[in-house]
Amino acid sequence: MSERAKRIAVVEDEETIREGICAALRRDSHDPQTYGDGQAAWEAMQGTLPDLAILDIGLPRMDGLELCRRLRARSDRLPIIFVTSREEEFDRVLGLEIGADDYLCKPFSMRELMARVKILLRRAAQIAEPADAEPIQAIGDLRLDPVRLAATWKGTGVPLTVTEFLLLQALVRRPGAVLTRDQLMDGAYPDRTHVSDRTIDSHVKRIRRKFASVDPAFAAIEGVYGAGYRYAGEA
């Protein structure tokens, strides 16, 4: 793993948040670059891409969604995290259309954001220099690689966000057992930031959709009415 300080682009029009993220990243020995609007960020990234991007959705001149789309067009691997106050954008941002890797709702805890940044950077490093040291979890047709945060179903890769991966991992760790939304939240959000029950449902829905696009018969995640979810794939 390279010890070079990671260059992280922060595109946020709220000065306080921008500066706050910047200060936190510096404390973690990263190299933040801040931009107040999408256009300025896009222009600055023409040369080299950063190692990770933290974007707001509502930005002057070019909004975060458009910026994300353009960055994705240039690189599939660049980790992108959205921070925004619009919960209703959730599905779009993490869906195939925008293709962000993770998403945090404002107001968020700085430690939660830093945890996400760390996980995503580690995954990116693993993808760049594969080192198959950690065990891969396999349950039926599902394989989870906890190092690279990669999931495969019947041998086909399923692109998951960090949150989705952690959620699925929490379910798979105890196959057949019903996990409450609270337990799933603990699994997916190590720092228990501001997340509603609806968020978990939304994540599960998206995980199912992603697996269904690989295998339309996918039904391994079961909803248990009034309780939570359960992984039902045979071991």
Partner: protein, 518 residues
């Protein structure tokens, strides 16, 4: 359905009222009957007088001679004739000599026609007659208390009263109930005079049976109509209930369901495709729920906007707090404290902006609308604060004649002030903000132009959205983004419009169009 609704009952009442028209006819028949009886009696008297006059020519009243006369008369008259001598004996009686039964008081023959009627109609008639009798009985109580039924008292010494009266030189009349029948027999007696002396009496009698049987037929017919009408009324009421009451009940049920429902209201109500008043009502309900839906959607989007706008400064404050907690550098702490204070101030502005929105919405309707001289208003507002400090020149171009619109003066001032101060704040130092008022026949136009950066084409409409604030630099944070949204709301409430466009080579142009006072 819950039995008969109140409208259903009312419809039944109206329909039954119609039924009472033939009932009134029956009541009228009672009067008609008494007239007919009077006419019959008058006819009898006439016949009696003629006979008496004829007999008065004769020297003596002889039975056989009179019988011949009767025989001739019989063919033309239904009446029974009797001639009495001065002693009160019957000299001649037309009934005794005729072979065929005459229309007499004891005549039963004609009632045979009643056998042709079915038992059902007779039952009907009896029912009706029973009702009529009950009425008569009640109405005649005072009469019966006063007078006896017959017009003359009982026979005196075997001689009928009317005969006695006629022999005494007076006109005698009597009405007697025909035994076994509802009909009566009318007796009219006149004296026979020969040169002033009474030589006998002529009595003409006739049963009212024929008359009554005709009336009976009419009454029966009318009563059948009444019964038929009642059946019809019931059917019509049932029909009205299905065509009017049931759709109404359905609408009511649907409206009640709406009241207890969550989520979107139905836009189509039962019966909306009908072309009658119920259809109108259903469509009106549909329109009402459509508008309510629109309003709910507006509220939802507004509260989503509000929560979004409140979350941004809250997130900032949270970030600043987190950073201050983690930071070791006093400089950094001081800096984030400053940012936090600024964010709190922004939150405050936002909250008062929201209060303004609510206030404008509530007050526009209550504003007093008056003629406002737009030129005069512009002269007052052209002196925008802050312009001079940055050596920005505000120019004003007004037409020669005053342009008057209908508006609330303060409200309109708020709109123009908002647009002008936006222009000033976005102008470069030393720039020009030009305000021009023009007017055509129907509209007044206020154009405000600046030399600022202009507005990206994709944002020309959005600048009027709530919470949308487009400012190319960090000054955006000082603006809540409600001013133009409120301005548009006000202008549109006066039937006007406000739009933004860009100038070439640079600068923005806002145009407010208001209808002129007619």
């Amino acid at each position: 359905m819950t039995g008969f609704s109140r409208i259903g009952l009312r419809l039944l009442a109206f329909n039954l009222l119609v039924v009472f028209v033939p009932v009134a006819g029956i009541l009228y028949l009672g009067i008609y009957e008494s007239r007919l009886l009077q006419a019959q009696e008058a006819g009898l008297v006439q016949q009696a007088r003629v006979l008496a006059a004829a007999l008065g020519d004769r020297d003596t009243l002889e039975g056989e001679a009179i019988a011949e006369l009767f025989a001739r008369l019989e063919r033309r008259s239904d009446a029974r004739f009797r001639v009495y001598d001065t002693g009160g004996r019957v000299i001649a009686d037309s009934a005794r000599q005729s072979a065929a039964p005459a229309a007499d008081d004891h005549d039963q023959g004609r009632s045979s026609s009643g056998d042709e009627r079915s038992a059902r109609t007779r039952l009907l008639y009896r029912l009706g007659a029973g009702l009529a009798n009950a009425r008569d009985w009640v109405l005649s109580i005072p009469d019966r208390l006063r007078a006896p039924v017959t017009r003359s008292p009982a026979d005196q010494g075997g001689l009928p009263a009317e005969v006695a009266a006629a022999l005494a030189g007076r006109y005698g009349a009597a009405t007697r109930v025909t035994p076994g029948q509802r009909s009566v027999t009318i007796f009219s007696a006149v004296p026979v005079r020969r040169q002033g002396a009474i030589t006998g009496a002529v009595v003409v009698s006739q049963s009212t049976f024929r008359l009554l049987s005709t009336l009976y037929a009419i009454r029966l017919r009318v009563f059948e109509i009444v019964v038929g009408s009642i059946v019809m009324a019931a059917l019509l009421t049932a029909l009205a209930a299905t065509t009017v009451v049931r759709p109404l009940t359905r609408l009511r049920r649907q409206a009640l369901e709406v009241a207890g429902r969550r989520g979107a209201l139905p836009a189509v109500f039962a019966g909306a495709r009908r072309r009658d008043e119920i259809g109108d009502l259903a469509r009106a309900l549909g329109e009402l729920s459509r508008r309510t839906n629109d309003h709910i959607r507006l509220l939802e989007s507004f509260s989503a906007d509000v929560s979004h706008e409140l979350k941004n400064p809250l997130a900032s404050i949270r970030t600043a707090a987190d950073t201050m907690a983690e930071s070791d550098s006093p400089d950094e702490r001081r800096r984030f404290h400053g940012l936090m204070v600024r964010d709190v101030a922004r939150l405050e502005r936002l909250v008062s902006g929201l209060r303004d929105v609510a206030r404008v919405e509530g007050q526009i309707e209550h504003d007093r609308i008056e003629p406002v001289d737009v030129g005069g208003l512009l002269r007052e507002l052209a002196d925008a604060p802050g312009a001079a400090a940055r050596s920005i020149r505000v120019t004003l171009a007004l037409p020669a004649s005053p342009v008057v619109v209908m508006a609330a003066r303060e409200r309109l001032a708020q709109v123009i002030d908002n647009v002008v101060s936006n222009a000033v704040s976005l102008s470069p130092d030393g720039g020009v903000v030009s305000i021009a008022l023009t007017a055509d026949g129907r509209h007044a136009r206020v154009a405000v132009e600046d030399e600022g950066p202009g507005i990206p084409p994709s944002h020309l409409e959005r600048v009027f959205d709530r919470f949308f604030s487009y400012r190319p630099d960090d000054r955006a944070r000082e603006h809540v983004g409600l001013g133009l949204a409120i301005a548009r709301q006000i202008v549109e409430s006066y039937g006007g419009s406000i739009a933004a466009s860009n100038r070439t080579p640079r600068g923005a142009r806002f145009e407010i169009v208001l209808p002129r006072r007619s």
